[in-house]
Amino acid sequence: MSEYLLYPGCVASVRELGYEMSMRAVFKRLDIGLRQRDDFNCCMPACLVHSVDYTRGLALTSRNLAIAEEEDLPLMTLCSSCFGNLSRAKYLLDSNDDLRRDVNRLLGEVGREYRGKARVEHVVTTLYKDYGPKGVKEMSAKPLKGLRAAPFYGCHLFLPQRYSGFDDADFPQKLDRLIEATGAESVDYHEKTSCCIGCGSFFGEVSEEAGLKLAENILDDVKASGADAVVATCPFCMMQLEVGQIKLREAKGKEYGIPVIHYVDAFGLSLGADSAELGLDVRRISVSPLLEKLGRN
């Protein structure tokens, strides 16, 4: 049995319970252990906290890395923004001795230290590294035949390449391969690797306007591609693309009806889990069209 230290993240554990349910259900089926703690702090988004104070912001992010080292387990993030932020901190501290010294001075005040050994993973990076397309395919008891899935990579899972190291920065492929391994078709479309600004924009009206515009671009493109569902990797993206559909219905009368699921949901379905086990009945946009297409419940 492999074991990880769960880094729950604010958005995933508070706003995206369906995703957390799905992740837990799938990991249980895979016999992956998740150790939990009650003292991780927010990943301290670089666009917020590091913007106010670079070094102290990094120290706060790195406090989580220090805890992971104390536990001697890799961190399992659910959110791509947490993944990106923790990976960025690790990269910066591992490549700048002065910064590391300063951060450790601050961590020392609370009895902690970053030693450079922490490992940061994400639900999708773990499934790729530990099982890969081949493993996923072998485990697929109920392949998602006939499903046309639109992969949505998000940003921090693969950008910038030097921080995350997960996939090619210009033409990422790994999510496509993982989707195909479930038996679904991975649909190509222009917005596949675009940004939803969900995790990085905090400007009230301006951010909402920009976010809605981007969601509309993405959803229009998914619709034109003929995909049955979006398969995302990040809870922020899922929220933006679901809430975007609700807002665009209100503002413009646009009816998309596009289910937005996480990759772990697609994988769970291919393992044979039902929608209740995967928390698919608590999504903001009904997944019924997807289940009907698969003839599943």
């Binding site: 988004p45 913007s51 070094t55 905090f202």
Partner: protein
């Protein structure tokens, strides 16, 4: 302590910005520029960091980058606009200029350890979905640690 101004100077350093070919790859890759045409432009923002800093520090534009890193990944000259913008915001912050919304979220983080508000009875909700409790805040000791790391001066800056 590492000085933010030094880090910024290093990123902007020695002719580095003069290597900018004005190709616009940054702006062409930027989701915010796409969503707010004419209102946000990282190529111009980068130029303003070196030639219009005092004015820039007072502008909302400085805080619009959503740190997706596409510009950093694509710049043919290896300029890192994302990190440059983050560091430039530190200068605005040190002069007390932090916009209202980011400030509100950071106060929430310093109070509870989370960026989103968690209602007192939220664990009952989670239990209803078969999920383990997370508490309305992270552990009190963890909150104390993060406040200590962040420091009194910055905590006051958020309250101002």
């Amino acid at each position: 302590m590492v000085d933010t101004r030094d880090l910024l100077a290093r990123l902007l350093d020695e002719k580095k910005l003069s290597y900018c070919q004005d190709c616009g790859s940054c702006t062409g890759s930027c989701p915010m520029a796409k969503a707010l045409p004419g209102r946000y432009n990282p190529r111009r923002l980068l130029q303003r960091v070196s030639n219009d800093l005092p004015e820039l520090l007072r502008s909302e534009e400085l805080w619009l980058c959503a740190w997706c890193y596409r510009c950093t990944e694509r710049c043919p000259q290896g300029i890192q606009p994302t990190e440059i913008f983050l560091l430039t915001r530190n200068l605005a912050s040190s002069e007390g200029m932090i916009p209202r919304n980011p400030k509100t979220i950071m106060r929430q983080i310093m109070k509870s350890g989370r960026s989103v508000n968690v209602p007192e009875d939220f664990d009952e909700w989670r239990e209803g979905y078969g999920l383990p409790p997370i508490g309305a805040t992270i552990s009190p000791k963890a909150i104390e640690e993060q406040r200590k790391i962040f420091g009194e001066e910055l905590l006051r800056r958020l309250e101002a």
